[in-house]
């Protein structure tokens, strides 16, 4: 089972828009609250009310400042979770078959009955997507809400990953990246969706839409960066003269 499938029927995954994410952590805690009672329950927390509090989370949001080679700086919020890679090394290194990639939809899962807690899969993941549950002794990770997306006990429109369902700015999109006609595939094409650390060669399913080019104030206003005054006399009289002319025209 630990061998990766040659190909999967679907490639379900996320497309995350870095130009829209405000770093509000909604996807982070919604993921936590769903999944701590979900397929990989519980997402244990250590020292929840003390020093060195720690816990198992499937989704984390970083904040950065990014500077272009031209020297312009901007802030960037970056959600980080499992990318459900096509060539998922975390699966290949698993000695027990606990980590596997589903042939039907490409979701990478951990079978916690088989996991021995050797942690090697977490070493193999460049993205830090796997978090070990010290109390349960098994590795845990994003399930792409496998217990939501097909769940017949949920309303149809709720059958999406919790992080997508809750995202207030609509920065998270979910769908089949195998289907070139899907909304997510179109979005990736339109906005130049990117792989993270493509040099690793893991072919992540999830894509990130880069921040759009920053525009300076008024760069869209023709050539003139400033407004032309009404006339040279400027001041109140120039304005009021114009006002009078305008009012006459309105009458």
């Amino acid at each position: 089972m630990t061998c990766l499938p040659d190909k999967t029927t679907r490639k379900l995954g996320l497309v995350i828009d870095l130009d829209t994410c405000v770093g509000c952590q909604a996807c982070v805690t919604n993921c936590k609250e769903w999944n701590t009672g979900g397929h990989m329950a519980p997402l244990t927390d250590t020292n929840p009310y003390g020093a060195e509090a720690d816990g198992v989370w499937f989704n984390r949001v970083h904040s950065y400042e990014v500077t272009t080679p031209e020297g312009s700086s901007r802030s960037l919020h970056f959600p980080r979770s499992c990318l459900h890679c096509e060539d998922a090394a975390c699966v290949a290194v698993c000695p027990t078959g606990a980590s596997y990639k589903r042939t039907s939809d490409g979701i990478v899962l951990v079978d916690e009955d088989k996991c021995i807690g050797c942690k090697l899969c977490s070493w193999a993941c460049p993205y830090g997507a796997r978090e070990y549950d010290v109390f349960e002794g098994v590795m845990k990770k994003c399930t792409l809400c496998v217990d939501r997306i097909y769940n017949e006990n949920l309303d149809q429109e709720d059958r999406v990953p919790a992080c997508v369902l809750t995202c207030p700015t609509g920065a998270r999109h979910y769908g089949d990246l195998n289907d070139p006609q899907s909304d997510v595939s179109r979005l990736v094409r339109k906005r130049g969706g990117r792989d993270l650390m493509p040099e690793m060669g893991y072919k992540p399913t999830n894509k990130y839409l880069p921040q759009r080019e920053k525009t300076n104030v008024a760069s869209s206003v023709n050539q003139s960066p400033a407004l032309a005054p009404l006339d040279d006399t400027s001041g109140a009289s120039g304005l009021l003269g114009w006002v009078d002319r305008m009012l006459e025209r309105m009458d």
Partner: protein
């Protein structure tokens, strides 16, 4: 995007049962009040999801809302009423029964009411039931009531209500669907947070341009197309420079100004007399304009009048000019030019000019026209709705300065000049706004007497010096000195001044301080040590506390708990009835009026009671009118739910607007419907009354809207609401300062009132800037709200605190270099008031003259259910420690001189690197308070959700 479950045969249950039951209610993890669906399984909360049908959040939920389970289960929850047994501040309490608690409170309060009701100071914090708490205070008869608006938002509320009859914050919203340019001024992330995020998503999707004007490039500013890192407290100057540019270029909407503002109203130019600067009024009291065609003055309401916008006109021998003439004279002056403003704002003049050009371009080169026909209040039919797709939004970054009122007015001036208030693509009112300008009613409090209700609600909107709450000898009626010459238009009271004033007996001593949900002993006060000293101050002769009784209600062990004498433990938000009322702060949007309820999702497992039910009980025990029947039996024996349904503020008007009338068919007005709560629950615990389609813009003058609003009870009459570029009530206070009228400021305040009370939006340096030596304290310091924490509540939440349990001081690289500070260094942040120690993080995205940090992460040891080693109590720090409560003269509050809004963001500091042996621990470090809920060790592990697991483990 939905797929059927594939056959994977990996043993994964893709359709586990999720809930036994799903109940709707309203979130209370911040002030946003989103609709939520709570999934219950085996009597426990499995999952909280946004309610897709809800007008506020449309299905989404923020980081706080999704962590609600952990607030509900917080170890800091109070469990039983408490009576203080040790000294104040020790945290030594004894558990008592509710009967004893209520009897004690009734005894204290009853004595006060019989003798001198103003000796009760009743102030509430993050209260979402102000229409009840305010009414309770009124019926009790104390003028000393306010919620926390005085230290939060009053500059913005008053600035808006006195200008456009509505306001930013959550009372209005950008037209997310049509705006092409969106300007955010100092927008924080704790009010209207999901609507703003949803809206930003829409703007991004449409490719609209977003510009953030904020000293710090946090959250929303991070995704802006442009960030203008302005120097704190100078937004007003920037805005007036934009006004200067737009006026000089003629980029203003004259038709809009004529039709919807007081641009043409005539202002008396009679320097030296007491009417100077007031409007010329006709026989009916209607302000007059100069009819430029007919050459005489006429009421602005006359049909067919063609108001002049310029010139000096003689009306009955009185010299007068139109408001617009004053505006032209004022703002075209070079003093308002970008070149004059740039340096102070910390921006280049080019940036200001380009911003003005951008606004003009969006407003006038690409006007928006929606194919909606409508009739204005003069009866004119329009086939389309024309808009200026420039939307603006502003929040605390504007509000929390001592020039915030005028800055906010300046922003509204800018909006009005370009025709961008409630037009397509611009700012939109949310019902019940717009309200007539100036707003009403006036504050009540004069004539308070034993055993007598006040004549009206204690908070209100003064229209001039005659409405100030002053005794005959000029001393303040209110303990917080609201509605005095120190802050004449303090429409939300001044909660931040109560404790210090009460302890000082200034203007008079009180007997009982009654607080609800306000962490005044920590992050809700400036000068925390001073506040603690006041709470524990004793009379040297008697040894009694200067504030003899303190009653406090809260659900959690905040830092304030140890300072109260009697604790009334409240429930969590999932254990209670509540109403989010249109009488208070509604959840409307621009397309409809909204209110909502909370219903109990689970029963409390502790001996706690909802505060509102307790307040109704106390009202009945005190025999307050409205709280008892004629036979003196409690009027609302069913508690708050009973009140929500059966209370009528006016005939047909109650806390909830939906499903009124015996048949449940009325909206806004209607008789009591005993099944009202059931109807709400059926509808997802909210009501949304849609505004007719043709009435959703130009609400101030859209006849269909005005009629609808009258029908809903929002407006007394369907008269056109004229927005005020020039504010007459403000001028009345100025005239008082100039020596006119019966009611005049004391001499030491004359100049201050004269300067601040400018009827046209003005800018002046913040009072702290004026009081501080810029060489000694070269930096501004302020806080921002992390989107995942709401005030002090986040740290008790096992999930949210993992995200942030220590705040850093964010300093610009270049600034740090100047101070010899490196990344991760510990530094002292020092103001004229004191110093606090914290750890630095260097950034680019901040104004170079400014340092900032996250608000309210620092906690006192022993509070909020945290271990004493928690980073919140050891590494995190509060800026509050160094914010002076007084201006440097030691008498006046560090607040806006007009509204009394606490000037949190005026703080000036310097930073110095801490010594090597000073690293790692914050200071000041207060002693640990004893946790009144017991000293049980906190769990080392939390595995919430284990019981929901549907799959049995193999071994």
């Amino acid at each position: 995007m939905h797929f059927g479950a594939p056959k994977e045969n990996d043993g994964v249950d893709t359709s586990p049962p999720v809930a036994d039951e799903v109940k709707t209610t309203t979130c209370y993890m911040c002030a946003c009040r989103c609709g939520i669906r709570v999934f219950l399984k085996d009597g426990q909360i499995r999952y909280i999801q946004g309610n897709r049908d809800h007008p506020v959040n449309k299905g989404v939920l923020c980081g706080k809302g999704a962590a609600g389970i952990m607030n509900h289960l917080s170890p800091a929850r109070l469990r039983k009423p408490l009576k203080r047994v040790g000294p104040r501040g020790s945290g030594e309490f004894e558990e008592i029964e509710w009967e004893e608690a209520l009897t004690t409170a009734t005894t204290w309060l009853g004595d006060i009411r019989r003798t001198d009701p103003k000796k009760l100071a009743f102030f509430t914090g993050r209260d979402q039931s102000q229409s009840l708490t305010g009414w309770w205070a009124k019926q009790f008869g104390t003028p000393n009531f306010a919620a926390h608006g005085g230290f939060c938002s009053v500059n913005m509320a008053a600035g808006g209500l006195y200008s456009i009859g509505g306001s930013f914050w959550e009372f209005g919203e950008p037209d997310w669907d049509h705006a092409r340019l969106f300007l955010m001024f100092g927008v924080a992330e704790d009010h209207d947070s999901n609507p703003i995020k949803i809206g930003l998503g829409k703007l991004k999707e449409r490719g609209a341009k977003v510009i953030a004007i904020n000293p710090a490039r946090t959250g929303y500013a991070a995704i802006a197309d442009d960030w203008i890192g302005i120097r704190p407290g100078t937004d007003g100057l920037l805005v007036l420079a934009l006004v200067h540019e737009l006026l000089r270029a003629g980029k203003i909407d004259l038709e809009y100004l004529l039709n919807y503002t007081n641009a043409g109203w005539l202002v008396r130019q009679t320097a030296g007399d007491e009417q100077d600067g007031l409007f010329i009024r006709g026989s009916e009291g209607t302000p007059l304009v100069w009819d430029r065609n007919r050459g005489h003055a006429a009421p602005h309401t006359d049909a067919g009048v063609h108001a002049s916008l310029s010139g000096t006109h003689q009306v009955d021998g009185v010299s007068a000019v139109p408001v617009f003439q004053l505006i032209a004279d004022r703002y075209t002056d070079e003093a308002y030019a970008p070149d004059a403003a740039a340096e102070r704002c910390g921006l280049s003049a080019e940036t200001i000019k380009r911003l003005a050009a951008e606004i003009a371009d969006a407003a006038f080169n690409n006007p928006l026209s929606l194919p909606i026909s409508w009739t204005d209040s003069k009866g004119t039919r329009h086939e389309t709705m024309t808009g200026r797709p420039v939307a603006m939004h502003a929040m605390r970054g504007i509000s929390a300065h001592s020039n915030g009122f005028q800055t906010c007015r300046a922003l509204h001036l800018l909006q009005m000049l370009i025709g961008a208030v409630d037009t397509p693509g611009s700012f939109r009112y949310k019902p019940p706004f717009p309200k007539p300008v100036p707003p009403g009613p006036t504050p009540a409090g004069k004539g308070y007497a034993p055993d007598t209700p006040l004549s009206g609600m204690p908070l209100g909107f003064p229209n001039g010096p005659e409405d100030l709450l002053l005794e005959d000898d000029g001393t303040p009626i209110r303990i917080d000195k609201a509605f005095t010459w120190e802050n004449p238009m303090s429409a939300h009271g001044a909660m931040h001044r109560v404790i210090a004033n009460a302890a000082a007996g200034d203007p008079y001593p009180i007997d009982t301080l009654f607080l609800y949900m306000a962490n005044m002993a920590w992050n809700s006060s400036m000068d925390i040590q001073g506040t603690l000293d006041a709470l524990t101050a004793t009379d040297p002769d008697t040894g009694d506390y200067r504030i003899p009784h303190i009653i406090y209600s809260d659900a959690y062990v905040s830092e304030t708990i140890p300072y109260a004498d009697l604790i009334l433990p409240d429930t969590t938000y999932l254990e209670r009835w509540d109403c989010i009322s249109l009488l208070d702060r509604p959840i409307s949007d621009a397309e409809g009026a909204g209110d909502a309820i909370r219903q109990p999702i689970v029963e409390p497992d502790r001996d706690v009671r909802p505060f509102q039910t307790v307040l109704l009980d106390l009202g009945a025990r005190l025999g307050l009118s409205g709280f008892v029947n004629e036979d003196n039996s409690p009027k609302f024996p069913g508690g708050y739910a009973d009140y929500i349904v059966n209370h009528e503020r006016a005939p047909g008007v109650g806390p909830l607007a939906g499903w009124r009338g015996e048949d449940g068919q009325s909206q806004g007005n209607g008789s009591i419907n005993p099944d009202q709560l059931e109807r709400y629950i059926e509808n997802g615990c909210f009501y949304h009354g849609e505004i007719p389609k043709e009435a959703r813009y130009y609400k101030m003058a859209n006849q269909a809207y005005l009629d609808w609003a009258v029908g809903m009870g929002f407006l007394g009459s369907a008269d056109h609401i004229v927005m005020q570029l020039y504010s007459e009530p403000v001028q009345k206070f100025r005239n008082g300062a100039r020596g006119h009228g019966v009611n005049q400021p004391p001499d030491h305040l004359r100049d201050r009132v004269e300067q601040a009370c400018d009827p046209l939006p003005s800018w002046y340096p913040t009072l702290e800037d004026e009081a501080t030596d810029p060489e000694a304290y070269p930096l501004h310091a302020l806080t921002q709200r992390p989107m995942h924490h709401y005030h002090s509540w986040g740290s008790q939440n096992a999930w949210l605190r993992q995200i942030t349990s220590q705040n850093r001081l964010f300093v610009h690289h270049e600034t740090a270099a100047m101070f010899g500070v490196a990344d991760d260094d510990w530094v002292w942040v020092e103001s004229r008031h004191g110093r606090v120690k914290g750890q630095v993080k260097l950034v680019d995205g901040v104004n170079k003259n400014t340092v900032w940090t996250w608000n309210a992460i620092g906690k006192r040891r022993g509070s909020w259910g945290l271990d004493k080693g928690a980073p919140e109590s050891n590494q995190a720090f509060l800026l509050n420690h160094i914010i002076p409560e007084k201006l440097d003269d030691g008498a006046l509050s560090n607040s806006d001189p007009i509204t009394g809004q606490a000037a949190w963001f005026d703080l000036r500091v310097r930073i110095t690197k801490a010594e090597p042996d000073e690293q790692g621990l914050t200071e000041p470090m207060f002693n640990e308070v004893r946790d009144p809920t017991g000293d049980a060790p906190r769990p080392g592990k939390l595995d919430y959700g284990r019981s929901f697991k549907t799959r049995e483990l193999a071994e």
